[in-house]
Amino acid sequence: MTMHDWLTDDAPASRFQASAGQAWAITRAFGRNPLAVLGAVIIGALVFVSIFAPWLAPYSPVGQNLGARLLPPSSEYWLGTDELGRDIYSRILYGARITLLIVVMVALISAPLGLIIGAVAGYFGGWVDRTLMALTDVFLSLPKLIMALAFVAALGAGLQNAIIAIAVTAWPAYARIARAETLTFRNAEFIAAVRLQGASHLRVIAVHVVPLCLSSTIIRVTLDMAGIILTAAGLGFLGLGAQPPLPEWGAMISRGRSFILDQWWVATMPGFAIIIVSLGFCFLGDGLRDVLDPKQRDGR
């Protein structure tokens, strides 16, 4: 029996084979979507660059060389240099680390928080739901960027505070999604069946409800990544995010602002980095939705 037969066997012989087969089917479906694969490649590249930046970057991201100020893109400086003679290409490679850090931290803080709040609200309904959703709605009906700005203004500028500010404004969306998802099957018969077998509320939520909300939350988080990156870059642009000399992309654009008419590359290049990574997350999220959304996958 070949590996392929084993994975696509419609009567798996073990739990392991069943989950492996499931994973294989998802991967296959994913592979048929070229944009999604492109997205995955971009995000893979982001991770790769973040890890290996010191080996990939030809110059130091912070080392100044006043003799090589504002040089246009050339074979020596691929993307040109900035006003302190720093190699923009190297700075962008190191900047990937900051972007990845922000994205991962925000996701780790806000997604589980939103998921649990939403699942609990949706499952119990009644006053629990009303209280939690009133809270969520308050946050949701506030302008996210402005709130993040106000938070950073109060907490003080810096990378860590920027992450906290973004995470504080990001979770309500996940709570909403998890709740909506939970509501669609809260009265479903398979949940009733588990309850009838004597399962506790905690068990129903943890074992049966949360896993079902997981994929839509993952999809939403992935799609939101672009927005998070833009918000972080915006904070950086305003000088409220990562502080100099850290090569944060938004801050780099901000510095290039004064030279935009004559030395266009200084502000433009980091912008392309932001666009590519954001698009990567969008493509990946769209692809994940096509593959993971059970309504589309099992809809036959």
């Binding site: 009133a134 809270l135 709605d137 308050v138 946050f139 009906s141 506030l142 302008p143 996210k144 960027l145 402005i146 709130m147 700005l149 106000a150 938070f151 950073v152 203004a153 109060a154 907490l155 799609l223 672009a226 927005g227 833009l230 870059a233 915006g234 642009f237 305003l238 000088g239 409220l240 938004g250 654009i253 290039g256 602002r257 935009i260 008419l261 266009w264 502000a267 433009t268 912008g271 932001i274 666009i275 954001s278 698009l279 969008c282 493509f283 769209d286």
Partner: protein, 352 residues
């Protein structure tokens, strides 16, 4: 809505009760959300900073000044009392005084807000006029190259930083091609010539009948508004497409086709008509987001709006101004959100 004769008295009474309940709920939720907004801004202003007094007087103030300010700010009272006072102040329009301009924050807001409204409104017009048809076409031809193009364009709207686009736009269309005017709302020699009636420069110019100023104002407005419009277009087109796809897969659409209804009427009358209320919600949300998103664009274009005011205040730690602007945008946000929600309930026959 007409009530048919067959309805019994208790049914009408129940309907009236439902309506009263609905209105009560609407008011309660709106008030609660607004209170939530104030709680958060209060939290940001009084609790998060390590010492709000220092934020006001600076760290070189004498002990007497410090204490006096502390009492003036009411910081010696319990937090709950401070919050109530804060709510009272905000409701009476007292947002404090701006450190940057030295004027009451409420006056500043009234001065800067119209510019933001003008830009965001122009942006949403572009977004709706292009975004809705694009979404409908994409859904009607799902899977075609046109659909793919619109989709990628939509995703770009999620991925391009507004401030970057503003910079590149200025470099290309202002400095490079000279098609549009540069930063600012109007050229300096036109400034202050039309009497401010609405605060919206284009409208005021029309009222004054000054076409040169109108032209100049538009040439300043068109680039930032188009950039904002692109972002709302991306969102509106994407949502329209997904609503339309949902409708087009419904059985009643097949019924229309069975009747021999033309494809054009199937799409616009049967599929599009039912989603118009949902779309109003989306457009409302998008407008609110534009008001917010204009912050970044305003900075790049030196647009004298609320965003510029806010960020200037931010960099100078002028918390009264920051929170005032936040409350203003937050309130507009809440009102638009709640109104579109209300609209949905009123206009969808299924929710009656």
């Amino acid at each position: 809505m007409t009530t048919s004769s067959s309805e019994t008295a208790p049914e009408i009474r129940h309907r009236a009760q439902d309506l009263a309940l609905g209105i009560g709920r609407f008011v309660a939720v709106t008030a609660l959300t607004f209170l939530g907004l104030l709680a958060i801004t209060f939290f940001i202003g009084r609790v998060v900073p390590i010492d709000p007094v220092v934020a006001v007087v600076g760290d070189r103030a004498s002990q007497e000044v410090y204490e006096a300010t502390r009492q003036a700010l009411g910081l010696d009272r319990p937090l709950a009392v401070q919050f109530l006072i804060y709510v009272r102040d905000v409701l009476s329009g007292d947002f404090g005084t701006s450190l940057t301009t030295g004027r009451p924050v409420i006056e500043d807001l009234a001065r800067f807000f119209p510019a933001t409204v003008e830009m965001a409104t122009a942006g949403i017009l572009i977004g709706v006029l292009l975004g809705v048809p694009m979404g409908v076409i994409a859904a009607a031809r799902a899977g075609s190259w046109l659909d793919q193009l619109i989709r990628v364009l939509g995703l770009l709207g999620y991925s391009v930083p507004a401030f970057w686009m503003g910079l590149v736009g200025l470099a290309v269309f202002y400095a490079g091609l000279g098609w549009v005017a540069g930063p600012g709302r109007i050229d300096i020699f036109y400034d202050g010539l039309v009497p401010p009636v609405t605060g919206l420069l284009t409208v005021d110019a029309i009222i004054a009948g000054d076409w040169a100023i109108l032209g100049n104002a538009i040439s300043h407005l068109v680039l930032p508004a188009s950039i904002l419009g692109f972002f709302s277009l991306a969102y509106i087109a994407r949502m329209t497409r997904s609503f339309m796809l949902d409708q087009l897969s419904q059985e009643f659409v097949t019924t229309a086709r069975v009747k021999g209804v033309s494809e054009r009427a199937v799409i616009w009358k049967h599929a599009f008509y039912p989603i118009r209320v949902q779309l109003v919600t989306v457009i409302g949300l998008s407008y609110a987001v534009l008001l917010e998103g204009s912050v970044m664009v305003e900075i790049v274009f030196s647009w004298p709006g609320i965003g510029n005011y806010l960020t200037t205040a931010l960099l100078r730690a002028d918390m009264a101004a920051v929170l005032g602007a936040t409350i203003l945008i937050g309130t507009v946000f809440i009102v638009i959100n709640r109104l579109s929600d209300l609209l949905y309930r009123v206009f969808d026959p299924r929710s009656r």
